[in-house]
């Protein structure tokens, strides 16, 4: 027992000595970085955040720790990112967030963040039951336009999320009366797809890989993907443009940001590191293997994109009455 005590005391002494050592004055980063993912452990945003953290760790030479804060549909995580000290040691992997503020759920917008770069985009897919009467997207859109209140559309999670808003943008572009459309919230895209198979919904907009296993088993059909090209893994699903002639790119994106007011040298260093990670073939194949789409926007483009999206989403939220 005595020797154990001595051993413990030794450790304590060593730790306190180490603490007394003067901090080596170095440039950023000289200690671990916290990467906040406003999503629970195990989901898509968590997966991309972890892949990104692995790459950034190699680039920056410091541990990058993923911290999941998915409470309140992500509001808690976004609030932590935007209110963090802008010293470059707290960053965030974010996704479509413009609806929180107009829906009264959170108090943050694009101006509260320093954009670093976008690394992912997944186009929304238009999913129906296999036995659905609609053979293609045009039939579906015409039917919804004729009687907007007759169909049940799943929001996946909350109705301000990426997928329902992509869907609403499409209906808006197709001149459907949005105030009549029935959008129903739920516990995520997977749950909504299950509910659709059980007979609950008529349409579930979600990412195509999320519906992938149900499409493969012949329970769900994908009528269109809202991107510029067909997806490599799902070559049978046509794009919106092929079917309707509408040129729209709608879906979910993910990018890296810091709190507003990040020092310029930190932003520059981070942007370079992020670009290097993005261009790393290992990162690219890891992303595609898991069904995540790749899309690059540099800091400036990403900032403009977020600001534009904010304007259009505010308008959509108002029309949908969320």
């Amino acid at each position: 027992m005595k020797s154990v005590n001595l051993f413990g005391a030794g450790i304590v002494l060593a730790v306190s000595l180490a603490a007394l050592m003067p901090a080596m004055a170095q440039e950023w980063p000289d200690r671990p970085i916290t990467l906040i993912a406003p999503a629970g452990a195990g989901g898509g945003t968590d997966a991309t955040a972890r892949l990104l953290a692995l790459g950034l760790e190699q680039q920056l030479g410091q541990p990058v720790n993923v911290v999941n804060q998915g409470q309140g549909g992500g509001v808690v995580g976004f609030t932590s990112i935007t209110t963090a000290e802008p010293d470059g040691y707290t960053l965030g992997v974010i996704y479509n967030f413009a609806h929180y503020s107009p829906m009264g759920q959170g108090d943050f917008d694009a101006a509260d963040m320093t954009p670093i770069g976008q690394f992912n985009f997944d186009p929304a897919g238009f999913h129906v039951r296999t036995e659905s009467e609609w053979a293609n997207i045009t039939e579906a859109l015409d039917a919804i336009k004729a009687d907007p209140g007759a169909y049940d559309i799943a929001c996946g999670g909350g109705c301000g999320g990426s997928w329902p808003l992509a869907f609403a943008s499409l209906l808006d572009a197709y001149d459907v009366d949005l105030s009549q459309v029935r959008m129903i919230s739920g516990q995520g895209a997977a749950a909504a797809l299950q509910e659709m198979v059980a007979g609950g919904f008529d349409v579930v907009p979600s990412s195509v890989p999320e519906a992938g296993s149900l499409i493969e088993s012949g329970l769900v059909r994908g009528l269109a993907v809202f991107g510029s090209e067909r997806l490599e893994a799902f070559p049978d699903i046509p794009t919106l443009e092929e079917e309707t002639g509408m040129v729209l790119e709608l879906g979910a994106w993910r990018g890296l940001v810091g709190p507003a007011g990040l020092p310029e040298e930190v932003t520059a260093k981070l942007a370079a590191a992020l670009e290097a990670v993005y261009n790393d073939p290992e990162f690219q194949s890891a992303m595609t293997d898991r069904g995540f789409g790749l899309r690059w926007r540099d800091a400036a483009d990403f900032g403009t994109f977020m600001a534009e999206e904010e304007t259009s989403v505010r308008e959509l939220v108002r029309v949908l009455g969320l």
Partner: protein
């Protein structure tokens, strides 16, 4: 009459009322008459009704309180116990207040060691427990499992003290 039981029942009744009042203003969901206020209202009213029953029972019952558990016969409270109860109850709050400032490595030994000392009066063992447990938690949770425990004033040393 059982005053304690009556107080608890009153507290739950008040909670039920608070829930009803607080959620009354929520807008119904589009397309139906109900909304997020429906369930809280139901829960609130049932809680009030049951609390009223509990209150009625408390008023009717003889004033002798049954101890919470047979194995702990009620003993008179002395000052040491009240202090102990207070520090144990306040410890999580103290942690939340101190950890962002002092950091985990400094706060946890104070909390654990302090509690053990107040409970036992044995200084040496308390210090050892505080330091040992903190070191253990730090190694397992921060270094191995990578939970981002706060560093506080030690932030500048975080880089040196993190294993890679």
């Amino acid at each position: 009459m059982q005053l304690g039981q009556l107080g608890v029942a009153g507290g739950f009744g008040l909670l039920g009322a608070t829930i009803i009042v607080n959620t009354a203003g929520l807008a119904p969901v589009a397309h139906i008459e109900f909304g997020p206020a429906l369930f809280p209202t139901i829960v609130g009213w049932i809680m009030i009704a049951l609390a009223a029953l509990a209150a009625f029972d408390a008023v009717r019952s003889p004033a002798v309180e049954v101890g919470a558990s047979e194995e702990e016969p009620p003993e008179p409270l002395d000052r040491h116990r009240i202090i102990l109860f207070a520090v144990f109850g306040a410890a999580p709050l103290i942690y939340v207040a101190l950890a962002p400032v002092l950091g985990f490595l400094l706060t946890m030994p104070i909390i654990v060691g302090g509690l053990a000392f107040v409970a036992s009066g044995k200084l040496g063992r308390s210090i050892l427990l505080g330091l040992g447990l903190t070191a253990f938690l730090h190694i397992v949770f921060y270094q191995v499992l990578r939970v981002t425990l706060p560093w506080g004033v030690l932030t500048n040393y975080a880089g040196v003290l993190t294993w890679r």
